[in-house]
Each structure stands twice: as structure tokens, then as C-alpha cells.
């Protein structure tokens, strides 16, 4: 008898699994948010619309992405250019803010002023705590270099990471990784599905 044969289901087990419900009523909010997401992408025409909407082209989606990046960029630029007292103690950590498609869809339908306020409050708190050393927004384009078979090769695709593309960074002070994680965990970036990588800066 093979190993697999000994793991066949008994009659009782088959009946128990067969008795499990195959359907589950989803929350009503799920239908509304799914419909809204499809309409925003031009995949479904809202009822009562005069004429069919064109599907969102890559450029239009890129426009929404640019709008999201603009919010972060405006926030970083505004807060960082205000006069600041240099932070004094602790280690330095770089916070890398990643965005992927899920993040871009998440911010796409939200009013910009709300996003600016949320990011601004977080960045402002970093300043008030005298933690903020630097912050910059990164452009969506970039270059990736690698040496392949004795030749340096260049790619314009810098987005190939599991977490998406790096949209910006903050350099902060914190006592240790736990404190840096506690600071970063309050960022609205996470609430919208973005990722934050934290790296300690080696003093040289």
C-alpha cells in the first residue's frame, strides 16, 4: 500500500468535509467597494452614465500614480524646508517608502488634501520630536546597473522588487530598531498598503 493510500479519507471524514458550507454571505460593503474600484478603473460603467467610459489607459493610471507621488513629495518638501533644530541623540535610520499597484489603487480615489494632511501630521510629529534628519521624494524613473558577462548593462526598470518601487525616503534618529519600527508604524503610508523598509545607517 502506498503512502498516499493510508491517507485516504474515511467515510466520516468525507461526510464532515462535504457538510461544510460552500457559500458564505460576504459583507454588503464588499460589493460597494468592488463596484467602486471597477468604475474608477473604467472596467464597469456606472449606472445612469450618458455614454460608455473608456478604459483607464496606462497613462491615466500613471497620472493617478503621479498624483499620489505628488502628495508625498509635497508633504516631504514642505515639512523639510521649514527651519529645524538638528536632532541630537540616538542612531540614524533610513526609512524607504515603497509603493506598488495595491498602494496606488488605494490612494487613487482619495481626496488629495486628506492625504497631504495625514502625511503632513506624521512628518510634523517627526520634526517636533527632533527626529527628522532628511527626507526626499524620488522620481518614478531611474536606472539599474549590473555587470553581465564582462559588460555593464543598464536597465530603466527600477521597480523590480517584491515591494514595488521606492517612492521616497526619510532619515530619522531613534534609540534602536524597536524605536524606529514604532515611529515608522504610525506612518499613513502603511495604512494605504505601502511598505516601509528600515535600515540602520552605519556610522563611519
Amino acid at each position: 500500500m502506498s503512502q498516499h493510500d493510508t491517507d485516504e479519507l474515511s467515510q466520516t471524514e468525507r461526510r464532515a468535509l462535504a457538510a461544510l458550507p460552500r457559500q458564505l454571505a460576504p459583507p454588503s460593503t464588499l460589493e460597494e467597494r468592488t463596484v467602486r474600484a471597477l468604475i474608477e478603473r473604467g472596467l464597469v460603467r456606472a449606472s445612469g452614465a450618458q455614454s460608455p467610459r473608456a478604459r483607464l489607459s496606462l497613462m491615466a493610471l500613471g497620472g493617478l500614480t503621479a498624483a499620489a507621488a505628488l502628495v508625498i513629495g509635497m508633504t516631504i518638501g514642505w515639512w523639510f524646508t521649514r527651519p529645524t533644530t538638528p536632532p541630537t541623540s540616538g542612531e540614524q535610520f533610513m526609512l524607504l517608502l515603497y509603493e506598488d499597484e495595491a498602494f496606488q489603487h488605494s490612494v487613487a480615489g482619495r481626496p488629495q488634501q486628506h492625504l497631504v494632511r495625514e502625511y503632513g501630521e506624521w512628518a510634523g510629529a517627526l520634526r517636533d520630536q527632533e527626529r527628522l534628519l532628511a527626507a526626499e521624494k524620488l522620481a518614478v524613473d531611474g536606472r539599474l546597473l549590473a555587470r553581465v558577462r564582462d559588460e555593464v548593462q543598464v536597465s530603466v526598470d527600477v521597480s523590480a522588487t517584491p515591494h514595488g518601487i521606492v517612492a521616497g525616503f526619510f532619515i530619522i534618529t531613534a534609540r534602536d530598531y524597536d524605536e524606529a519600527v514604532a515611529v515608522a508604524s504610525r506612518s499613513p503610508h502603511l495604512r494605504y498598503g505601502g511598505r516601509i523598509a528600515i535600515r540602520r545607517i552605519e556610522p563611519t
Binding site: 498516499h4 471524514e13 461544510l20 464588499l30 460589493e31 468592488t34 464597469v44 508604524s185
Partner: protein, 192 residues
């Protein structure tokens, strides 16, 4: 019929009819795949519909629409697992154990749902698809991009793990006199 109507008009009303027909089974499966974590299951269902509607013009009826949707949902789930691999809760004390969030159902169904939710992701996927959703090993292998033999051995291990989990949850509480004997034996084995 619903698909044809939606393809023709891309109308919200036609989509809602399609959604209401297929989402209850899609959602049930997504809840099981995520180990009972309903917020993640909701995200999977939404992502599934977005991808499905985007690709609907290319759907060629090589399978039923339900089978096709479930395939998309499984891929969405796997992508989430890959993306979240290695993450642990920031403060584990404040994060509820998602395995205990299985929907409450009467009698042995509660134990069985909880035991399924407590399986490792890979075991749970294969068990849900084969023993609950009724896919064949070949279909699961294609869906999960694994060998058929791997699927069979994963299923064996999943069933064994499930049986163990159910057996552990059914262990009776030790009687008071048994607890007393255990305690005495423990004291005797301790060095002076």
C-alpha cells in the same frame, strides 16, 4: 447569460448580477484559504473581480466561470503570501491570533473549520481545493504551478496534520487524580 449581458453593456447593473451569483462561493473559499481572516478574504475577492473583469473578454469557456474565478482567487492569495513572507506582527501581544477568528459554526464544524484554518498555508490550499472544492490533482497542480506528485504528497500531509489537530482538540481534560499523580511523579524526579 449573465456574462454575455455584462460583456455587451459593461453596465454596473449587469456586473452586480454576476457578482451576486458568484461571490458567495468565492468568498467562502477565500475565507478558508486565508485561515479565517475575513479582511484578507475581502481583499482577495475584490482583487479577483478586478482581474476577472479586466480579462473577461479573453475568457474562452475552457472551464466554468466559477472555476476560472477560483483560479484567479488562488493566485491572488499566493501573491499575498509571497509578499508577506517573513513578516511577523510588530507587537505580537496586540495582534489577535487570526486562527481563532474562524466563523462560529455549530458542533464539529467549528472544530473542523478551526483545524483547517490552523494548517500551514500550503497544506490548507491543497486540502481546500481537493477535499472541499473538488478539484483534481492535475487541476490543482496547474493552478499552483507544482508537480502532480507534489500535490498528492501535500494533500497526504495536510490530511495527517488535520487529523492530528482534531485529535489534539478532542483530548479530554485530565481527571483531578491524574493531575495529582503527575505532580507527585514530577516532584520525585527533581534533584535535591
Amino acid at each position: 447569460m449573465l456574462v454575455a449581458a455584462f460583456r455587451r453593456t459593461r453596465d454596473e447593473r449587469a456586473f452586480r448580477a454576476l457578482y451576486r451569483r458568484h461571490t458567495p462561493s468565492l468568498y467562502a473559499m477565500a475565507v478558508r484559504l486565508t485561515g479565517g481572516h475575513e479582511p484578507d478574504a475581502e481583499d482577495i475577492v475584490q482583487d479577483t473581480w478586478i482581474r476577472a473583469v479586466d480579462a473577461l473578454d479573453r475568457f474562452g469557456w475552457r472551464s466554468s466561470l466559477r472555476t476560472w474565478l477560483i483560479g484567479i482567487a488562488v493566485n491572488c492569495h499566493r501573491e499575498r503570501c509571497r509578499r508577506d513572507a517573513g513578516l511577523v506582527p510588530f507587537d505580537a501581544r496586540d495582534v489577535p491570533d487570526r486562527r481563532s477568528d474562524s466563523p462560529a459554526r455549530a458542533g464539529t464544524r467549528i472544530d473542523l473549520e478551526r483545524a483547517i484554518a490552523a494548517l500551514a498555508d500550503g497544506y490548507r490550499e491543497v486540502l481546500v481545493l481537493f477535499d472541499i472544492e473538488g478539484y483534481t490533482h492535475r487541476e490543482i497542480a496547474t493552478l499552483l504551478r507544482i508537480q502532480e506528485g507534489t500535490c498528492k504528497s501535500q494533500l497526504s500531509r495536510a490530511r495527517r496534520a488535520l487529523r492530528q489537530a482534531l485529535a489534539d482538540s478532542a483530548l479530554p481534560e485530565p481527571r483531578p487524580e491524574e493531575r495529582q499523580r503527575e505532580s507527585t511523579r514530577h516532584r520525585r524526579t527533581q534533584p535535591d
